[in-house]
């Protein structure tokens, strides 16, 4: 392409879609064509299934897909993270083996970072990978692993050197999940769902070519994955709506989305369901109670102000202006909003809040709010970590004195034995 501008890109992608899009193709067949054309991940390098398109022009391509109703490459969160990480840090062999199959959705992935002993302190991982003979042997336990029971591959953070300080002793691997050394157990949550898993690794093996980047560089690679995860957190909520059009390709995409979104079906309740509050207040006859009205108004105020704050951040980004502090506040605000919403729902529900499932209001939705909201202030970075991030990165306040920096990790105190 000699010159890339909005009009030329639009014309080119439109012509290609008009010539190639066919809703009766199989999903994988269609996505393979898409990957061949470079329009599936146009901002990727042309050497790896992309077209070197500046990210500013990606929305143009998305608009054209939407206009014609064409399905894109697999967008499910973790596949995107795996692909982005491998694209940045992987070897050519890894790119060859995984990128296409991630884009087509043939391979599914999970993320093996968190451990029972390292939650907020992800770099404190103690799952070990030891080089024995010509392969890495992995032992340890991972937790909070979404879709591990379905995954073909795992993004694994493991400790390869115990004499180096915390971050420097970590390496990053691609683990074959379908092997005898990997055992997956669902982890039941307090709200009754089991969206995550525990993964037990007992002499699981990784061939040397499945090390990502170099030995000891695992933290840098992890940071790349986490950065993409944070960036995609908003997207996760919006993408997961299948088209209701007819055609084999649409049918297969709907099935894919249903599988991928299964673990997230309680997420709206986790956020507090502010959207239900006024309706519920009217239904329950509490709408005229001045105390309840004050609480509803406080909740709506916070919710609206947070929404407008996010819009300010997004507008600044779109205009290419430096983002102010407002961009870092959304996660914390959503915790406070979820808690306030759960409080209001309890007030509105009265004795019915004693019940759950079909005996309770809205077929259990309200009860599910009350027992799901505690996840909001923990998942994806606790409120405590969010406070630290805001204080240190936005307000430039000094870091807490650290006791593990510069010390061999084997000497750093870890969880007390019970």
């Amino acid at each position: 392409m000699s010159e890339m501008n909005e009009a030329s890109v639009r014309a080119e992608v439109r012509a290609w879609l008009e010539a190639n899009w066919n809703p009766e193709l199989g999903l994988i067949e269609w996505r393979n064509k898409l990957v061949d054309s470079g329009w599936g991940a146009p901002h990727w390098p042309s050497a790896w299934h992309g077209r070197d398109l500046p990210t500013g022009l990606v929305p143009v391509v998305e608009e054209e897909f939407k206009r014609i109703g064409a399905i894109g490459v697999a967008k499910a969160g973790i596949r995107v993270l795996a692909a982005a990480t491998i694209l940045s840090h992987g070897s050519d062999m890894q790119k060859e083996k995984f990128l296409r199959r991630s884009l087509t959705g043939q391979d599914t992935w999970c993320q093996l970072f968190s451990e029972p002993g390292s939650g907020s302190d992800v770099a404190g991982a103690v799952t070990r990978a030891d080089l024995r003979g010509n392969q890495w042997v992995v032992n340890g336990q991972k937790v909070w692993t979404t879709s591990a029971h379905k995954a073909d591959w795992g993004l694994l953070l493991a400790r390869t050197d115990w004499d180096k300080p915390k971050h420097a002793g970590l390496s990053y691997f691609i683990l074959d999940m379908k092997q005898p050394g990997v055992t997956v157990h669902p982890l039941k949550q307090m709200n009754g769902h089991a969206s995550f898993n525990q993964v037990f690794l007992t002499d699981a093996v990784v061939p040397p070519e499945m090390l990502v980047d170099e030995v000891g560089h695992g933290w840098a690679v992890t940071t790349t994955t986490l950065m993409h995860e944070r960036r995609g957190a908003d997207g996760l909520r919006s993408w997961a709506v299948g088209s209701d059009r007819k055609g084999r390709c649409y049918d297969e995409e709907r099935a894919e989305i249903a599988t991928t979104m299964e673990p997230y079906k309680w997420y709206p309740q986790r956020a507090g369901r502010v959207d239900l509050v006024v309706k519920r207040a009217k239904e329950t006859g509490r709408f005229d109670d001045p105390v309840v009205r004050q609480e509803i108004a406080k909740l709506l105020t916070m919710s609206k102000a947070a929404e407008w704050t996010a819009r300010r951040a997004r507008t600044a980004q779109e205009q290419g202006r430096p983002q102010g502090p407002e961009g870092s506040l959304g996660k914390l605000a959503s915790s406070y909003i979820a808690r306030a919403a759960a409080r209001v729902h309890t007030q509105l529900t009265g004795a019915d809040a004693l019940l759950t499932g079909e005996d309770s209001p809205m077929g259990g939705v309200i009860a599910e709010i009350l027992v799901s909201v505690p996840a909001t202030s923990i998942a994806g970075g606790t409120d405590e970590i969010q406070h630290n991030i805001i204080a240190e990165r936005v307000l430039s306040m000094p870091k807490e004195h650290s006791v593990d920096t510069g010390r061999p990790y084997r000497d750093v105190p870890r969880n007390m034995a019970g």
Partner: protein, 376 residues
Amino acid sequence: MKFSFSSEQDEFRSNLRRFLTDRSPAKEVRRLMETEAGWERDGWRHLNETLGLTALRIPEAHGGHGFGFGELCIVLEEMGRALLCAPYFATAVLATGAIMNAGTEAEKQKLLPDIALGDTVATLAAAEDDGRWDAAATTLIATPAGSGYRLDGHKSFVLDGHTADLIVVLARAPGSTGESGLSFFTVRDDAAGLERRLLKTMDPTRKLARLTFSGTEATLLGEAGAAAAPFARTMIEAAVCLANEMTGGAERLREDALAYAKMRMQFGRQIASFQSLKHKAADMLLDVELAKSAAYYAAAALDDGDEDVAATASLAKACASDAYTQTAIHAIQIHGGIGFTWDNDTHLWFKRAKSSEVLFGDASHHREQMMRHWAA
């Protein structure tokens, strides 16, 4: 623009901030707040000659610059930040608002140009001893007398009421009740039968007066008996403008407290390195940013003519009230003992936070207003 400012607006803001930093340092705030008037004619004139601030929102046809609430609220946010001692809110928001919302074309031509020039300092007298800013609570009586009217009764909590040259007064016809029979009047400062008493205010930077009217001559402003709607509109504007003023003060307090925490050493380290303070500082940032978003949105909603602007205005006022007060409490706490002293400047903004929290109705009042307008 609800979610961003134009580059012209940004430049306007930085010019204003420079001007106010220069003209209204804490030392000057302290000097003026100790005076009975609370402001000085020279400084006021300079403000209007240099920047044309009272003219900002007045239409060009009436001697002003014809800007909107977007610009007016930038001015108020910056004044709140600098704690400027001037009768700006009374003149440019309250009196100008009432005249623009209620006045006839001829009345606007007569009254607004002098306000735009900064020659007339004006205010609005609405609340009475019971401290309610809703029109129905009005008891002051206006009786027709010759070609004009005579006022009998009192007004209280009148912003800069002891120094204003022109007072817009809300009064009712004899025998009327509720929202009917209400009219606006203008009264000059030297009118016979007008008695003005400066009230002792907790916030010395916000002067309030009690006015007594005894057969005081007054001129009708706008349509007789039809003031309820323009008054309500004026109070919506006032809530939005005050919300913006408050966010300016809250941000200033937040920044000063943060700077102090980085400078103050205890136990051999900056107190800003303690997690308890870091988490407090992050919450303060969240409170202030949310309040700013609401205040900016509400200002733009006035300019855009949004139908639900009454709800948005109350939301912004309630949000700013809670945020400013909470920020002030945290700011004093972060300063520790020195923050409780008269010599430290924190209490000046703390008191402004308190006075703003209550002025035109507290957060609970506005939350109820918001529910009535929005979720009915």
